[in-house]
């Protein structure tokens, strides 16, 4: 597989590679979905680098010529700018909403607050500690194998959220998900969310055993399959 790091990807996207090198990346992008996705991710980062003003002048000029001479390119830059603006204050924003919620409770009469706190404590004490949720991203037609140190480790009762990338498969309004695994493991259901990029499914209330699991994602037009090795700790 052709490897593409940030520098090589930037050079490719800006048309700086030799013809032979660019040709090798072209071939990899067309033949290997994972290389296509990686270069797409670097393309997004190139827009960020332009906004950071961290590109040298020559590269800035090349970027403007290649990407900002179309309406689509200028719109992508606008999106990148908005994302940076919002990302600049995530912690402050999150804290504000937490304090807002807390302050709304503190404005209640003291007795009511006391009752609420007591009820909350009683609830917490009565609950068994929940197994923590595990999230895992999978790609179609790919095994996420434990031997490559990329498998997933869970508690036997962990809820597992699978993010199933569609790669370039078409989005669908309805998806059915089926998970099969060792020892006759079988689960099926609907996603918690889906869009044009990925389908997210949460598998909970099951007992995992170590082994390889196969996830099948079916729409009216497509069936995508994913595999992952799960290790129960």
């Amino acid at each position: 597989m052709t490897t593409v790091d940030a520098e090589r990807a930037f050079a490719y996207l800006l048309g700086e590679l030799s013809e032979a090198d660019a040709s090798a990346v072209d071939e990899a992008v067309l033949a290997q979905p994972e290389t296509h996705e990686l270069v797409s991710a670097f393309e997004a980062e190139l827009f960020d680098a332009y906004l950071d003003q961290s590109l040298p002048n020559e590269r800035r000029a090349r970027f403007e010529q290649r990407f900002l001479s179309t309406a689509a390119g200028r719109e992508r830059l606008q999106r990148a700018r908005a994302l940076r603006q919002v990302a600049a204050q995530p912690v402050a924003a999150a804290q504000a909403s937490w304090w807002q919620r807390l302050s709304s409770v503190l404005t209640m009469p003291r007795l009511a607050v006391g009752a609420l706190v007591a009820a909350a404590l009683a609830f917490v004490v009565a609950q068994p500690p929940p197994a923590s949720e595990v999230s895992v991203s999978l790609r179609p037609d790919t095994v996420r194998a434990a031997d490559a140190a990329r498998g997933v480790t869970v508690a036997a009762a962990s809820p597992v959220v699978f993010e199933l990338a569609l790669d370039d498969a078409p989005a669908a309004s309805e998806w059915k998900v089926a998970v099969t695994g060792p020892g006759g493991f079988s689960w099926s259901g609907a996603p918690v969310r889906s869009d044009a990029v990925a389908v997210v499914v949460k598998v909970s209330g099951v007992s995992w055993v170590s082994g390889r699991y196969r996830v099948s994602l079916q729409s009216a037009a497509d069936v995508l399959t994913y595999e992952v090795d799960v290790t129960v700790r």
Binding site: Y12, L13, G15, D26, E27, V29, L30, A31, P33, H36, E37, L38, V39, A41, F42, E43, A44, E45, A49, D52, S54, Q65, R66, S69, T70, A71, A72, G73, R74, E75, R76, Q78, R79, R81, A82, L83, R84, Q85, V86, A87, A88, P90, S135, S137, R150, V161, E163, A165, D167, D168, A169, P170, R193, D195, A196, V197, A198, A221, D222, L224
Partner: protein, 195 residues
């Protein structure tokens, strides 16, 4: 599918192309189409979707004419794509000269609408996803950014490229969500078409 001259491909031409590319199901075909679209965009060409169509049409016609003897479908397709790109680049050079002098900055209210839409879309992500994407794309540069992303990857127990892909998938979702929201709230806003 239609050819460059707007002439529809015949059934057997399309079937032969799909079988040659190993793209018997519609999903595989769309994936190849999407990769071609990126190929054209990364050559600095607008209207990648149309150029991808044109590439596949030309490939189908050449296959039907028995001109092709190669055993490497993607290399063949790339050859056709390069030819289409070369032609398009000539036209693009003329178009850019005319358009580049008029690249307007987006109006302030449009930028504000983007940010508002994005904030709404972020609410639709799971908290862990929101933290991941905002942390990854937080402003910064140089070594500090590299170190911060490495730390983020380490804390998630994944490699840097795996983190990059996860963040990018979320970014794509957000961009699609923002596009949809803006279409609802600003139906008259300029779209990406018409390049």
């Amino acid at each position: 599918m239609t050819g460059p001259a707007g002439v529809a491909l015949e059934g057997h031409q399309l079937e032969r192309l799909l079988s040659f590319l190993g793209a018997a199901d519609p999903g595989s075909y769309r994936r190849i189409h999407a990769r071609l679209e990126s190929f054209f965009r990364w050559k600095g060409l607008g209207d990648g979707a149309r150029l991808a169509d044109e590439t596949l049409d030309r490939a189908a016609r050449r296959l039907a004419d028995d001109e092709v003897r190669t055993q490497a479908p993607m290399a063949f397709l790339l050859g056709v794509a390069r030819f289409v790109a070369m032609e398009a680049q000539r036209k693009e050079a003329q178009r850019r000269t005319a358009e580049q002098s008029a690249t307007p900055e987006p109006p302030d209210e449009r930028v504000e609408a983007e940010v508002t839409a994005l904030e709404g879309c972020l609410e639709g992500l799971l908290p862990a996803e929101r933290t991941l994407v905002l942390t990854y794309y937080r402003e910064g540069s140089g070594r500090a950014r590299i170190e911060s992303r490495q730390k983020q990857a380490d804390s998630l127990g994944i490699g840097l490229n795996a983190l990059r892909i996860r963040a990018f998938r979320l970014r794509e979702r957000l961009e699609q969500c923002v596009t949809a929201k803006l279409a609802e709230t600003h139906p008259s806003a300029p779209s990406q078409e018409g390049e």
